[in-house]
């Protein structure tokens, strides 16, 4: 049963890495879109694509949290205290990002939009980095069991953490570029599709290079994790991820964005699975194994049954949402983010300065 619950956690993390990660990636491109005029089109597309889905995408994180604290309560208590700083920063970043995103749709002037947009975009980079760094701390064996038993700084500022934090930001950017290129086609914006195609290819190459180079970092910093990633199931997952990443590059290059969506998601999901397989049988290496971490069997069974009942309602709902979104039925009018404000008023009294 513990394995089933672990699988649920992995599904949740993978889904969050793909869906939530892409939303954070949208923020990354927003941040790097350039000036208000030049970046307005790009930002408009990010806004339009994310609006209907980001809240549902975000819930995967809540799902992961509740499953972990129910099924692996000791691990939850331990990691939340040792990793308190990145977790707190991520939580604050989530507040900033979600609020800024909700607000930006209502900005009345380019100045307001710029301020709110910068908050949105910066926090979109902060959050995945913090989560990645936290995962790095766990995977490299820096989170012991206990009430803040580990080092609260080096547990997340260390080579492996920084690597995985950066990878989390990059892979989100990569996913977002692939998804947005497809969305741009649907919005009838071939120029934007080309812009995101370039970004997807660039981000894909950079992400792949960092991931490969990162293996050397992990080798010197967290030998056990490296061994896990280069043997058995871990190796298979890493290879699957690499192949899926390469395939995605090919699909994006040939502008087949529909299949590219799937393979890009597959690449990110595979590496998530790879991490878990690499540290098997530990939940918190090198001290807490899955069996030690698991709650009592009654709880695990109850949780799985409860979630299975919930899934009866959830799965069709998710299917309905993504079907509507991918068919473009919830699409709003495409508006370049700067053009809705033109002409720029001279006296925007309500604007924060």
């Amino acid at each position: 049963m513990a394995e089933v619950c672990l699988a649920l956690v992995v599904i949740g993390i993978a889904a969050y890495a793909v869906l939530g990660g892409a939303d954070f990636g949208g923020g990354f491109w927003d941040l790097s879109a350039g000036g208000a005029e030049g970046g307005g089109h790009l930002r408009g597309l990010v806004q339009r694509s994310m609006s209907p889905v980001w809240e549902a995408n975000h819930v995967w994180l809540i799902f992961v949290l509740v499953v972990v604290w129910t099924a692996f309560p000791v691990a939850f208590g331990s990691l939340m205290t040792t990793l308190a700083i990145p977790m707190f920063l991520a939580a604050v970043g989530i507040i900033f990002r979600g609020t800024a995103f909700a607000l930006r749709g209502h900005a009345a002037t380019i100045r307001e939009a710029r301020l709110i947009g910068a908050t949105f975009a910066l926090s979109s980079v902060l959050v995945p980095f913090c989560f990645g760094a936290a995962i790095g701390g766990i995977a490299s064996g820096r989170v012991p069991v206990g009430n803040q038993a580990g080092d609260t700084i080096t547990s997340w500022i260390n080579p492996t953490s920084v690597l995985i934090g950066v990878l989390a930001v990059l892979s989100g950017a990569y996913l977002a570029a692939v998804f947005l290129a497809g969305d741009a086609i649907r919005a009838g914006q071939p120029d934007l599709a080309r812009a995101f195609r370039t970004r997807a290819l660039g981000a894909g190459v950079v992400t792949g290079a960092v991931a490969l180079g990162g293996l050397l970092v992990i080798r010197s910093d967290a030998r056990a994790l490296f061994d896990g990633l280069t043997s058995g199931g871990g190796l298979v997952a890493v290879l699957v991820s690499a192949v899926a990443g390469a395939v995605t590059l090919g699909l994006v290059a040939s502008e087949r964005y529909g299949p590219a969506r799937i393979s890009a998601a597959g690449a990110v999901a595979a590496i998530t699975v790879g991490w878990v397989l690499a540290q098997d049988p530990y939940v918190l290496p090198p001290s807490l194994t899955l069996d030690q971490a698991a709650a009592s069997n009654t709880t695990l069974i109850t949780l799985v049954v409860a979630l299975a009942i919930g899934a009866i309602f959830l799965v069709p709902s998710l299917w309905y949402l993504y079907r509507l979104v991918l068919q473009g039925r919830l699409d709003q009018e495409f508006e370049p983010l700067h053009q809705r404000f033109q002409p720029i008023p001279d006296d925007d009294a309500g604007a924060p300065s």
Binding site: F101, L103, Q148, L314, S317, Q339
Partner: protein, 464 residues
Amino acid sequence: MPDAALLTLAAERVSGALGGAGGPDAILARRMQALSLAVHIPIVCFGIAFPAMILFVEGLYLRTGDVTYKALAKRWSKVAITIFAVGVVTGTILSFEFGLLWPNFMATFGEVFGVGFGLEGISFFIEAIFIAVYVYGWDRLPRRTHFLTGIPVVITGFTGSFLVMGVNAWMNDPVGFKVVDGKVVDPKPWEALLAPNLGHELTHMYFAGYMVAGFIVAGVYATAWLRGRRDLYHRAGLVVALSFACLAAAPQGLAGDWAGRRVAVSQPIKLAAFEGLPRTENGAPFTIGGYYDASDNKVKYGIEIPKLLSLLSDHNPSGRVVGLSSVPPGDRPPVNVVRIAFQTMAAIGTALALLSLLFVLTCVFRRRLPRTQWFYRAVVVAGPLSLVALIAGWTATEVGRQPWVVYGYMRTTAAVTRSDNLEIGFAFLVVVYVGLAGAVAWLLRRLAARPPETEVAPAREVAG
């Protein structure tokens, strides 16, 4: 001095699964948690009540075909998704804080109460999905389909609060596990989810949700009313919101009575703190106002109404009510905080119930709205007041639970994180929440500034 060995809950029976002692005092962590809850709970009220109000107005539109109703429902739905977005992030903070602040509570009892949150996660998921479909589906989905996509939002608003209240009810009256040698064993998650306190806590909160959301929304339109904006749009906004609030405010008293009687049985010391009742007695009085002096263990300068407390808590004027001295001082909650919070809630609740009665009776017997300006001024004030009552009620029940996090089993100080840098986090959170409140206020004003007609105007041509 304790009243004999009346209550045995003083036994510290559970040792934390993470081992080691917790913090020396949990006051900062408690403040941080309280701050986050005080921000989140009003939002929850909107999650509970607002979707039903919106669907009601959309239903009016579907029945009458009057686009004014559509404009109102659409405008409200935009407000709702904004509030929901804020709720998503503030709720996320809460779930992080469970681990950041109370690691030993989660590590020790997570397996007992966690399933409720698991289901709540699913409920929240479905809510997020359908609120997006509903808000972004205006003018894009067929009218009837659009209306139907709102129904899951109403249902999940209920189930979400049901499940979270289940966990809170369990903390106040824990069941569904055994303690052997200080370890929690044999968890029965379903039993824990349906803790005996759930019935009254949920009912009380559910009505509160309708009161808070209803009165606040009604207050907005009552302000417009006082400024002479009495067209159908504003009239509908006022009447619908006020009706929802008033229909909840009247039975809220009964729910409160139920809650009081349950607390008398399951957490007698909490009830004693509500009232500042020093010693166990038969035919206990109800004291209004004044303050509790811990050194004397009695309430000073209050107005005493004989036998009323026994009558309220036991429905019997000479019933026995347990007093504070039944347990050692270390097992009593901070009486003044709890007592003032409780009395504030009860006073505001009574006032709002009277206001509601006036509204309902005028509507039913005179078949019109109240005419006096004072009524509308009262409605404007009722919004913030209901919010105060909500927070006060939560303060009464949660501070009243102290010094326990799991009533009778685990002390709050045993649950808390060992981190000694909470000040920084606390200060940071204060700034963040102030910013958040400012941002939301700004946004709602911005929304309100747009004329309602823009909600139903044909989509404007895309530039470029």
